[in-house]
Amino acid sequence: MSRKFLGLVLPLAILIGWEAIWYLAANPLESISRPSQIALALMHGLSDGSVLLLTWQTFESALLGFVIAAGLGVLTGIFLGLAPQLERLVRPTVDLLRPIPSVALIPLAMLIYGFGVRMESSIVAFACIWPVLLITIAAVRGIEPGLLEVSHALQLSTWQRISRIVVPAAMSRIAVGLQLALAIALVVAVTVEIVINPRGLGYGMMSAQQSLQFDRMYALLLWTGLTGWGLSRLSQTLIDHYSPASRAQLPRSPA
């Protein structure tokens, strides 16, 4: 019970110390808001709905990009994982495209889509597809050869082999790639909003900073961190409950 809350001690101590310093310092910096002001600004932003709107805008782009990347990445990854020759053909191109910083695509995406969801989610999708693709390929390659031999001996059709053996066997590792991609999606979405796109949490932070509403800027920063944490917790919970591998790791019954 007490161990569960042990992790809260440090953040609370920092907040109290922060608030205390603000009172003790003779000439506090205006740009460093007090925790109490930040909390008030966050409550205010939440109650008037502006923070929720910004959150929705960021999530819209991040999740759309993530879903596109996940779908394309998993499908292509399974396909390439099962066809090593084809993977050798595609691999150099992937290695060439992968190191391009996603933010460097902003000018191009602007040219194609202009401001808005499509521009932002296309950059998110570009950033997210590589980890999903590469981890899926590795996961399919790493499937127990014995299981593939069983599918061969049973003469499973290609579709049966993929749906009944390959996907469930690779799922737990693919899920790790998806989790990674989800975290990247939020980072890239907020970055694009800060750099150029006038919507979402990133834009909210920029405009708060430029209009000298520092408490609101901190509040949005805190809120972005909380939503990211919530998203990763949610994905972990989903994986724990629904992944086929989690069922396989049930405790052994006494022999």
Binding site: E144, P145, G146, L147, E149, V150, H152, A153, L154, Q155, L156, Q160, R164, I165, P168, A169, P244, A245, R247, A248, Q249, L250, P251, R252, S253, A255
Partner: protein, 270 residues
């Protein structure tokens, strides 16, 4: 003993009594991995309903031979025939029980789900799965474990699941690759008796690989001794011990001990 045929190399074929129909036949089958010959040209005949045990030291090509019979690998030379059809790949009427049950079962599926995989492969309608799975589980003594996952079962139980899955294919030929090698003595004896009983009841042809000579004699209608480097038939011996056999009395039987004595000498020689 006059029922033995000793072979010294390629081209030794088993005596096939005219009264039996030949189920499985290999002609001049050899296997090489690069420069290394694993199996020298080999002729082997298995009659329908026969329980053939192949015994040999490790590295003599037993498993390769079984994989050839399953159609999982293609021979370098020669042809394989099962019921008059050339073996060009795996087929569901030839089921293979892998030695390593831990790698052959789907860890994310229950016992019922693992057995049902073979039914799905055979295209059996879903509404029949439940009754068929229950029946097969009962046959293999798995009824109480039907909703458990492989990781929750002992090694012997997991191997029962794999055998049940193979039976779900309704195979005419059962290929078994040292299926009981990793099991304890008591579990092994129980499973030996069950496999012997199943093979007899269903009149299934069985090719059973083992490195355990006593297991081969106890189970087999015939024992083929493989010699290594390259793999070839060193002896082909008909086991003339009546069925049903008994773990205690059969193993103490004078004939059993004679077979053991003779074949043991052959295994040592090669």
């Amino acid at each position: 003993m006059n029922h033995e045929t000793y072979g010294t190399g390629p081209g030794v074929s088993a005596p096939a009594p005219a009264s039996h129909t030949v189920a499985l036949k290999t002609s001049n089958v050899s296997m090489a991995f690069g420069p290394r010959t694993v199996i020298a040209p080999l002729d082997l005949t298995v009659n329908a309903g026969e329980f053939l045990c192949i015994v040999g030291a490790s590295g003599c090509g037993k498993t390769t031979l079984l994989r050839l019979l399953a159609g999982l690998v293609t021979p370098t030379t020669g042809t394989l025939n099962f019921l008059g059809q050339a073996i060009n790949g795996p087929a569901r009427d030839r089921a293979i029980v892998f030695q390593d049950y831990g790698r052959a079962l789907l860890p994310w599926r229950t016992v019922a789900g693992n057995i049902a995989l073979a039914l799905e492969a055979c295209g059996i309608p879903k509404d029949q799965h439940r009754s068929k799975v229950e029946q097969l589980a009962a046959t293999m003594g798995l009824s109480h474990a039907i909703n458990q996952y492989p990781s929750q079962l002992s090694g012997g139980m997991q191997q029962r699941v794999q055998i049940a899955r193979c039976l779900a294919q309704d195979p005419k030929l059962l290929l078994m690759d040292e299926p009981f090698g990793a099991l304890d003595a008591i579990t092994r004896q129980n499973l030996q008796d069950e496999v012997a009983r199943l093979a007899q009841e269903r009149n299934t042809t069985v090719v059973f690989i083992t490195h355990d000579l006593e297991e081969a004699i106890y189970l087999g209608d015939r024992v083929v001794v493989l010699a290594a480097n390259p793999g070839r038939i060193a002896a082909d011996i008909t086991i003339d011990i009546p069925r049903p056999r008994n773990q205690l009395t059969t193993r103490e039987d004078r004939k059993f001990l004679e077979y053991r004595h003779d074949i043991y000498g052959l295994l040592e020689d090669h």
